[in-house]
Amino acid sequence: MKVKVLFFASLREQLGTAAEDLDLPAGVGNVAALRSHLRGRGGAWELALADGKLVRAAVNQDMAPPTTSLKAGDEVAFFPPVTGG
């Protein structure tokens, strides 16, 4: 199952990437599982996506809680809490 993953702001800088196309392994079916899968890459991924870090997610450009399920073709974004205005 392929999804597009985007990273913004401090996460984008820490991870050194803004976007990637990812083929999800079996068992990675929601936002929390994807975050955990990415964290498993170690290094900067482990640090930036650690459990204690406040990371928000969006699926197809709508804010998405960790339990949001994923399907092929989804656009999933991870980013820190927003600070506009």
């Binding site: 702001a9 804010m63 820190p80 927003v82 506009g84 205005g85």
Partner: protein, 137 residues
């Protein structure tokens, strides 16, 4: 209803006058956010940001009488005293205009994907902003 995410500056006076053309309008309330003290760069999530702002405006329309509304948020490099954001709401009476304007601003701060960077450091989200949005529930 107008939502714009743009690098260019805006003319708040002209935007507000444009909201009072309808003779039913009796009040236009507005908020302008300004860069305070430190230069910054604003990043956003193209597509989602506009969508989130549209949704916030729709939520405000469901709660108050909003005859028209303009939300403009700038991105890119901004200097102290530069304008960042405009929220302007037209209604028949001031109560609805004030409330809807404040509601839109509170949710923009917590729901619209913008991120501020000051120098090398990213601005941290503030719990007080979450509190401000929660009081409307």
């Amino acid at each position: 209803m107008k939502v714009s995410v743009q690098a260019a500056d805006f003319d708040a006076g002209a935007e507000m006058r444009a909201l009072s053309r309808d003779p039913k309008v009796g009040a236009v309330a507005s908020f302008v956010g300004v860069v305070r003290e430190v230069a910054m760069t604003l990043e956003h999530y193209p597509g989602m940001t506009e969508r989130a702002l549209q949704r916030i405006v729709e939520d405000a329309r469901a709660r108050w009488q909003v005859l028209d509304c303009t939300v403009i948020h700038r991105t890119g490099a901004l200097q102290p005293t530069d304008q960042i954001v405009l929220v302007a709401v037209a209604s028949s009476h001031r109560g609805d205009a004030f409330a809807a304007c404040e509601f839109i601003m509170d949710f923009l701060k917590t729901q619209a994907p913008f991120w501020k960077k000051e120098g090398a450091g990213w601005v941290e989200a503030r719990a007080s902003d979450d509190k401000a949005a929660e009081r409307w529930k």
